[in-house]
């Protein structure tokens, strides 16, 4: 269960959002500029709310009244950015292994095989990120986030930087991840079709406010 109840002033723009979701994939839907990225940056711990609370499965991540702000590196919340953000100086293999090393987890070859097969990136392991296509990069970024064994996975328009054919290439992987990886996800998009295919619960965001919340049918409402 992810509970978010926050306010944040960002220059002229303000966010006042509150929702709780138990869905496997919570879709954060809204036009660009609705505050989607700022909101998941707060869930990730990269941005601190001015006021409010964020909790995950009962663990408090942020509580401004008690001055609690758990730093991002201690949240175990994975984040797949729109622009992949692979480490350019590391091979694909080292990129995938990064989260495991930082969290002091034991090396798990079976898990590595499972994830690389799920995302079809086994043949890329010895390459440098600079030599990958956009779609390959995004798949490696998905694998890197999953292999850190997160409690929640944030996906910020993971298809946004890709062209039409690449989107069609990645979307099935996201659906497989939803059905096989068993990690709850928050999926951010402004594309209603993607939302329908992936999300199980929708949070509609407009000008920093939640306008509606519910099943996929709110998209047509």
């Amino acid at each position: 269960m992810l509970r978010v109840d926050v306010t944040k002033q960002l220059g002229e723009f303000s966010i006042e959002a509150s929702f709780a979701s138990e869905g496997r994939v919570t879709g954060l839907f809204g036009a660009s500029g609705a505050g989607k990225t700022s909101l998941i940056n707060m869930i990730a711990g990269l941005l601190a709310p001015d006021r409010g609370k964020i909790s995950l499965d009962g663990d408090v991540l942020d509580d401004t009244e008690k001055t609690i702000h758990l730093p991002a590196y201690r949240r175990r919340i994975g984040y797949v950015f729109q622009d992949a953000r692979l480490f350019p100086h590391l091979s694909v293999r080292a990129n995938l292994d990064y989260g495991r090393r930082m969290n002091g987890l034991a090396f798990d070859p079976a898990q590595l095989t499972r994830i690389t097969e799920l995302l079809d990136i086994g043949h890329l392991l010895d390459r440098r990120p600079g030599k990958l296509s956009g779609g390959e990069r995004q798949r490696v970024a998905l694998g890197r986030a999953l292999l850190a064994k997160p409690r929640l996975l944030l996906l910020d328009e993971p298809l946004g930087a890709l062209d039409e054919s690449r989107r069609a290439e990645i979307l099935p992987y996201l659906i497989r991840m939803r059905d096989e990886a068993r990690i709850p996800m928050v999926f951010v998009s402004h594309d209603a079709a993607e939302m329908r295919q992936l999300a199980t619960q929708i949070v509609m965001l407009k000008h920093g406010r939640v306008t509606s919340f519910g099943g996929v049918k709110v998209l047509s409402g």
Binding site: G45, A72, Y73, R74, R85, P88, M102, G130, A145
Partner: protein, 231 residues
Amino acid sequence: MLDITPTEWTAILLSLRVAAVATLMATPVGIALAWLLARRDFWGKSLLDALVHLPLVLPPVVTGYLLLLAFGRRGPLGAVLADYLGIVFAFRWTGAALACGVMSFPLLVRPIRLSIEAVDHRLEQAAETLGAAPWRVFATVTLPLSLPGVLAGMVLGFAKAIGEFGATITFVSNIPGETQTISSAIYSLIQTPEGDTAALRLVIVSIVIAVTALIGAEWFARRATQRLHGN
């Protein structure tokens, strides 16, 4: 003409040693300060920035004299270091290294700072979400990506340290075999009758060292661009 005499060799080797020690000692401090200036906001940041650049704009003789006041045998820092740690700077080669380290510090810090600033902050955020504490973000992402800049800074600092003259001669004088570097040896030779040929030899040596260092810095800078593009 390039028959280098033992005295000249002594000066050349001493210069190399002084510059190497100065660079190696200044680098960790330089990296820490460069990171602070590039990535943190704090009270007195402009003051610290100005302080780092001070040796670049002060007359070297002033820097040397300030070092003498502070680190001389009776200076507040010099006395403490000598009494408790047995480290003496005054009129020793170690003092020459200190003077060179201070004088070359602005040149060392600048490329490091620029390359840390050039590291994409979004990569550091990605590392954080993968569980890396701030110091590990620095060690595994920021530092490796700015390493070519660090090396370029070290090369520039080394080149500056090799050529340093004013602060060194003010602080530790010009003692053959102890504090007489290439620059102060040239200075002595020019003041000696018949010293011209020997001076010219050392001039050629210092040109060779400086040009090598500049080419090295250029090479490292090119590597930096390649590395940041992930090739």
